[in-house]
C-alpha cells in the first residue's frame, strides 16, 4: 500500500490518473480507516485549493478539506450559515471533528451526515473536478448513488469546494439532531431548515431531514405548504404533520421504532424551522435598528 501526499490539485489529479482506479482520495480518513484499505491512498489535506473558508459578494466558499472543527468555529459560517456551524459542532467527538472534513462528510455518503444535512438545507453546491480536467457543479443532495455510496468517484474525481449563498436579510437557518447520547452517536433523526421571512410570512423555505433515504431529503410538500404562511405555532404543527407524512422510515432494532422516528422527524423539523424563522426575524430587526 502506498500513502501519497500531493501538494497541489494538479499533482493529486495526476496521481489518480496514473493510479487507473486503484488510488483513492482521503482527507480526514475517519471512516475509511475502519474499512479495508485500497491499493494507494491520496491524502488531500495539504492542497491549498481544498482549504480555507472565504466570503465574496454574498457567496461563502468552503474548501472540501476544511474540518468540522474549523467550520464550527468559523466567524464566516457562524454569521452566514448557522445551520452548518451547528451541524459541524455535533459530529462524533472532538477527535473526529478535528480530523473529519466537510468534503469527506459528503463523499462518504452516510445517510445521516450532520454537515451534509445542513449543507443541503443551505442549498450548497459542490464543485468537482475529474482526471480529465472537467469541472462540474452539483447540489449536495444530488451526490448520492445509494446507501453509503457517493456519485463522486474518489478514484477519479475530487470534490474541491462547497459554495453556499450567505444568509441575507430576513434569512435564517438552523440545525437539530436527536441521538441516543450526547457524543459519538449517529442521529436517530437530524434536520435542518433555511428560511426567508418577510413581514412575518414565509417567503422561501428549505427543509431537510435524514436519515430517511440514502441522501439528505428535502421535504418538498412541507416547504410548499409553508410559503406565504405566518410564522406561528399553528404553522409549526402543520409542518410537523406534513413532514411526518411525506417520508417513510423503517424500524431498526439498534435505533428505534418507525413510529417514534416519524414522530421525531416532525418534532425536529418543527424545531429547526422555528429557530431558523426566529433568526430570520432577528436579522430583520438587527437591520432595522
Amino acid at each position: 500500500m502506498s500513502y501519497l501526499y500531493p501538494s497541489s490539485l494538479e499533482e493529486a489529479l495526476g496521481i489518480l490518473r496514473d493510479g487507473s482506479g486503484r488510488a483513492r482520495v482521503i482527507a480526514g480518513a475517519t471512516d475509511i480507516f475502519l474499512q479495508r484499505l485500497p491499493h494507494s491512498l491520496v491524502d488531500l489535506t495539504a492542497l491549498p485549493a481544498l482549504s480555507g473558508i472565504k466570503e465574496e459578494s454574498g457567496l461563502i466558499t468552503i474548501g472540501a478539506a476544511v474540518t468540522h472543527s474549523q467550520a464550527a468555529a468559523s466567524p464566516v459560517i457562524l454569521a452566514g450559515a448557522q445551520a452548518l456551524a451547528e451541524g459541524c459542532a455535533r459530529v462524533g467527538s472532538p477527535q473526529i471533528r478535528n480530523a473529519g472534513t466537510l468534503g469527506g462528510n459528503i463523499v462518504n455518503a452516510a445517510p445521516a451526515a450532520d454537515a451534509a444535512v445542513a449543507l443541503a438545507a443551505l442549498g450548497a453546491r459542490a464543485r468537482i473536478v475529474d482526471i480529465k480536467g472537467l469541472t462540474r457543479e452539483e447540489a449536495v443532495e444530488d451526490l448520492y448513488r445509494t446507501h453509503n455510496r457517493s456519485l463522486v468517484d474518489s478514484s477519479s474525481e475530487i470534490l474541491v469546494e462547497l459554495i453556499i449563498k450567505s444568509c441575507g436579510i430576513n434569512e435564517g437557518s438552523a440545525f437539530t439532531r436527536f441521538a441516543a447520547r450526547n457524543a459519538l452517536a449517529l442521529p436517530l433523526v437530524n434536520a435542518a431548515a433555511a428560511v426567508k421571512v418577510e413581514n412575518g410570512l414565509v417567503k422561501e423555505a428549505r427543509l431537510v431531514v435524514a436519515p430517511v433515504k440514502p441522501a439528505p431529503t428535502r421535504l418538498q410538500r412541507a416547504e410548499e405548504m409553508l410559503i406565504g404562511m405566518p410564522v406561528n405555532r399553528e404553522t409549526r404543527l402543520a409542518v410537523e404533520k406534513a413532514a411526518a407524512s411525506e417520508v417513510e422510515v423503517r424500524s431498526s432494532l439498534l435505533r428505534c421504532s418507525a413510529r417514534y422516528r416519524l414522530h421525531l422527524v416532525g418534532v425536529l423539523v418543527g424545531r429547526a424551522l422555528e429557530t431558523a424563522a426566529q433568526r430570520a426575524q432577528q436579522r430583520k430587526r438587527g437591520n432595522d435598528s
Partner: protein, 763 residues
Amino acid sequence: MIRSITAPDPKQAPASGCFPGIDYDQNPEVWAKAAGRAVYGTDLKMPGMLYGKILRSPCPHARIKKIDTAAAEAMPGVRAVLTGEGLGCKPFGIVVDDELPLAVDRVRYIGDEVACVAAVDLQTAERAVQSIRVEYEELPAVFSPAEALEENAPQLHRDFPGNVAWQRNISRGDSEAAFREADHVVENTFTVPAVHPTYLEPISCVAESDRCDGLVLHTALQSPDSVRAIVAKVLELPLSRVRVIGPVMGGGFGGRVYGNLKLYILSSLLAMKTGWPVKMQLTREEEFTVGRPMIAAELKMKMALRSDGTILAREAEIITDNGAYSAQAPWVSNTISERNDSVYRIPAVKTGVRLVYTNKVPTGQYRAYGNQAANFATESLIDMAAKKLGIDPLDLRLKNCIREGDVSVHGLQINRCALDECLKAAAKKIGWDRKKAGRGYGLSAAIHANGSLIFNKKFRGAAAQARLELDGRVTVFTGEQDYGQGAHAAFARIAAKALGLNPDLITVQSRDTMHSPYSLGALAMRQTTIGGKAVQLAAENLKEKIVQLAVSLSGEPATMENGVVRGSSGMVFDLAAIAYDYHSQTSGLSLLGEGKYVPEKSDYDDSGYGNISVTYSFAAHAAEVEIDRDTGALTVHRIVAAHDSGRIVNQVSARGQVYGGITQGLGMSCYEGYLFETGRVANASLADYKIPTALDIPEIEEIFIENEDPAGPYGAKGLGEIVMVPVLGAIANAVADAAGEWVTDLPITAEKIYQAMAGWECQ
C-alpha cells in the same frame, strides 16, 4: 509533544482522616497508567510467542457433523490445530459443569468454540481458522426463556431437563396471610437486559508451558486463585504446577473474576502442545459475543402494605436468561432473588427464581452481581406504593428501612448501619423539600455484602504477610487484587497505620499466585473489609516481632511508636538494623508478620437463611432529572450518593469509586443492554452498545457517613459494588416523577419514556 506527568503538589492535596499519607499520592500505579508506561496483558510479548485464534460457531444450535482441519494444518506458519474430539476434557464450570473447552458434537450459541489454532503471527492464525471447514446440521433453537420453558422446547443440555439450569424457592414468614390482610397491594413486571462490564482492555492471556515451571498464565484476573484451580482441574495438572501472573488490569468490574476461562484453557492447551508461549486475545466484538455479560432478568414482583405504609410482605417470580452455559449466573440469580429484601424490614417473603438455558451468549457477572437489577424493580415498586398510599417516598423508606441491630428477613445480621442517615442526607442535598418545577426526583436505597461467609463456608477470610526488608522498608503480600480500584494503596495505608510508618515505605505485592497468599480475590466487595483486615493483622504481627527482636537485642523493654523502635533506656533501633540482624541470626530468613482474618462461621442453613457476610455497606441515592416532553429525551442533572461504608481509607479513591459506579449505573439505567436478532448479538461494538460518554454524566455529589465498623480495618468497609446498586432505582423513580409514568423495561430510553407518556402500546 509528550508532557511528563507528575503527582499534584502534596501540600495542596487532601488526606483522609485518621490515616497516614496524602490521598493523591497513594497509588504509584496510577502515574504509570496516566503516562502510558503500565504494561497490560495486551502489551505482552515473549520470545518465540505464537498467536492463537478460535473458530467459533456461526449457528445458534447445531450438531457438528464433520470438521476438516487439513488445510489449516498444512498452512505454513501454523504450529497447532485443536478440535474438541481429541481433547478428552471433562465438562467444567464455575457453579454447574456444563462446558467443554471446545465443542465436541454440538454447538449451542453463535460464538461457541469449535476449534483453535496457534501460528507464528496473528494473520496466519486468522487465515488458518478461516480455512477450517465444519459441516453443521442445524437444530431448532430457543432465544428466550419463555420459548425455552415451553413443553416441547429443544433441550440444550441432557443433564438439565426443561432447560432449567438452576432454581430456588424461598419462603420466609407467612406471605399469603400478609397479602390477605394487606390494605394495599402493588405489583408490576420489570425487565432488565444482559449488560457487559465493558472494561477498557479486552481479555488476553499468554500461556507458557515447560518442564521447569509448569504452566504459567500471564493474565490479569480479579480472582487468580479460583481460575488457577479450574484450569488445573480441567487440564488435569497438579495445582502447584499452574501459576498465574497478572499484568496490569485494564478494568474488571466483576467481569474479570473468572475472566474468559475458555481463552485460558485453550491458550494453555496450545502452549502445552507446541512448547511455545501462546497469546490469545478477544477482539472487542468477541468481548460482546462470547464474553460473559450479566444475565437478563424478568422480575414479576408484588408488595403488600398497610395503609400507614408498613411493608408486610413481598413476593416475586424471577426468570433469568442464562444463555448457553452457566458460568456464575446461578449465584447472580440468587443475589437478584434475595439481596434487596434486606434493605427494609419485611416480615414475609416468597420468591421463586429460575435460571433458564437459551441459545445465546453465556452469561457471567458484573459489578453488584444483580443486586442493581433487583434494586430497579423493588425501588420502583416502593415508589408505586408511595404514590398509591399518598405517602412521601422518603417517609415510606424511612418507616421501613433496616436499622442497626436488626436481623433481616433472610437472617442477615445488621450490626452497623446508617441507612436512615444516608436516606435523609441524600434527600436533603438533592433538595427533596424544595423541588424545582419541571424536574423529577427519585430516591433509592441499597445494601451490599462485604465478602461472603458462604461462598466457601470453610474459607471465609483472608491472609496477608508483611515482610521487613533489609533496608527497613516493608513489603505486604496479599492475594487480593488491585484492578484500578485502589485496593493496594488502601492496604499500604492500613499497614502504614498499624506500623506507624509513612505509606511510601510500604510496597504491596499480589500479582503472582506463586508468591501471594491464597485468596478468593476481588469479588463480593471483600477487598478493604476482609483483605484489609488481614493486612492490618499482618502488620500488627510484624510490629510485635520487631519489638520482640529489639528486646532480645538490647535486653531491655522496648516499644514501637510512630514507626520508631525505642528501648526503655531511650536507645533507638533502626528498622534496617533489626532486619539485618534477624537475617544474619537465621542465615537468610526475613522477619515476617503474618495475619489471618478468620471470620466466625455463619449460621447459614440449608434453606439459605442466615448471615452471609461479616458486615454490610449501605447507600441511598437521589436523582434529579428533566424530560423533554416532545421527544421523551432524558437529562439526568444530578445524582447525590450518600454512603455508609464505614471509615473512608482514601477520600480521593472513594470519590473515584462513586463516580465510576454512578456512571455504570447510569449506563445500565438509560443506555446499555444486549440486543439480539435470532440469537446473534446485534450490537456487538462500542458504536452500537452505547455506554455513557463524558457529556452524558450528571453532576455527582457524594456524602460519606463515616459510621465506623469494627468488622473491617480501622472501621472501614467496602465501597465498590454498592455504588452501582441504588442508581437504577433513583433514576427510574425520578423519571416516573417527571413523566408521570413508569418505564419498567431497562434501559430507560427516550423512546420508552415518550411511549409511556403518549400512551402508545409497547412495541
